[in-house]
């Protein structure tokens, strides 16, 4: 009886030590899933998803099951890439609202040169100095609309970019996954 108890206890202790060692040996630093999600995101740090940047959004998707369709600059391609990576259903959040690509423009007559929009711009696409007219570098502007709110005179407007031969670009990211249209279950709703 005593031998049986001792033997099982010893076995349990040995297994416990082995598991403790393997937990140390294979310790996971940080959140590897969030890293992979962040690699898919376009890194514009535009905060249109409602998080302060791409990293916080990636962490929210990895941990709290945040919807995968909130990345506006990434659009449908990023949503499908995330669905593929995480094994989620791309249709679960009701698809993505594609907005026309916009660029911010400053109304020359109204700008007072307050520099507030410079501090708000995540990609430094606004040039200017105090009491000087500010200008927007259109090629850098991601259309995130973050500069609209700080402007005290509301002189910044969003202007949609027309797709012409000069402005057309390959969709981002370049490797767009195949659209799984035939696997979407809501297609046959009875």
């Amino acid at each position: 009886m005593l031998i049986a108890i001792l033997a099982i206890a010893a076995l349990a202790v040995v297994m416990g030590v082995l598991l403790g060692y393997s937990a140390l040996r294979f310790r996971v630093e940080g959140d590897p899933v969030a890293d992979q999600i962040e690699a898919v995101l376009p890194q514009t740090q535009c905060a249109q998803c409602g998080y302060p940047g791409c990293r916080p959004y990636a962490e929210a998707v990895a941990k709290d099951d945040e919807a995968i369709n909130k990345c506006v600059p990434g659009g449908e391609a990023v949503m499908l890439a995330l669905a593929d990576l995480l094994g989620r259903d791309p249709g679960e959040a009701g698809g993505i609202v594609e907005k026309p690509k916009c660029v911010a423009v400053i109304d020359d007559n109204e700008c007072i040169g307050c520099t507030l929009c410079l501090q708000a711009c995540p990609v430094d696409a606004i040039m200017g100095a105090a009491k000087q007219l500010h200008g927007i570098i259109a090629s850098e502007c991601t259309g995130c609309e973050l500069c609209l709110k700080p402007c005290p005179v509301e002189c910044i407007h969003m202007r949609p970019i027309e797709t012409t031969v000069r402005t057309w670009k390959w969709p981002f990211p370049a490797s767009q996954p195949a659209r799984p249209t035939e696997t979407l279950p809501q297609a046959k709703a009875a």
């Binding site: 031998i3 049986a4 033997a7 099982i8 076995l11 349990a12 297994m15 082995l18 598991l19 393997s22 937990a23 294979f26 310790r27 996971v28 590897p32 899933v33 992979q36 990895a62 990576l85 995480l86 094994g87 035939e182 696997t183 279950p185 297609a187 046959k188 009875a190």
Partner: protein
């Protein structure tokens, strides 16, 4: 060598743990919604069954049998299996974090997969040697993976097909599983052991 091949065919096809012996039905239905997850689950379970059947054999041979406490085999095997599963979980969290997240609760639940304990206990009952136990364990895992992957493939098709409303969801999955089980009965005469 022929002997091992026969054990392998016998466990994978003829006496398949899921479809013929009806062990391990829970992950079979729970993780078969997507092909990739099923593949990962199959690999993890195969690894756990093979490793735990070897560990269980060693524990039985060098601890339980000499001390004459073979009647404690079930509790000792459960201890071994739980440790192996925990080890697999730790390693998988490190090596393949997305799969770790996809499998979720079903990964620790391999502990309660009755096929794992079933293999260890059957090995003890049939008094198999170390190599035989290992091959038997691997065969059981491979059979589980094969059936799980086949079933996941079928289920992916069933999801998009036009199923009558009362049969949708688990009902059609169970009917499919039953039909697959019937199909596997066709292997019954392949190896007689």
């Amino acid at each position: 060598m022929t002997e091992y091949a026969l054990i392998l065919i016998g466990t994978v096809l003829v006496n398949n743990f899921v479809l013929v012996k009806f062990l391990g039905i829970c992950p079979f239905l729970g993780v078969s919604k997507k092909l990739e997850t099923a593949f990962g689950m199959g690999l993890a379970t195969t690894f756990v069954i093979t490793l735990s059947s070897v560990c269980a054999w060693l524990v039985n041979e060098y601890i339980l049998a000499p001390l004459d406490i073979v009647y404690l085999s079930t509790i000792a095997f459960i201890l071994v299996i739980a440790s192996v599963v925990q080890f697999t979980e730790t390693v998988m969290h490190k090596t393949s974090p997305v799969l770790y997240q996809l499998l979720g609760i079903f990964l620790p639940l391999i502990t309660t997969n009755c096929a794992v304990l079933g293999v260890a206990l059957l090995n003890l009952q049939e008094q198999r040697g170390l190599m035989e136990s290992m091959v038997y364990g691997f065969g059981a895992g491979a059979g589980f993976s094969l059936v799980l992957i086949l079933f996941a493939g079928v289920r992916e098709r069933v999801t998009v097909s036009d199923v009558p409303e009362p049969f949708q969801g688990s009902a059609i999955a169970l009917i499919t599983a039953g039909l697959m089980s019937l199909a596997f009965m066709g292997f019954a005469g392949l190896v007689t052991q």
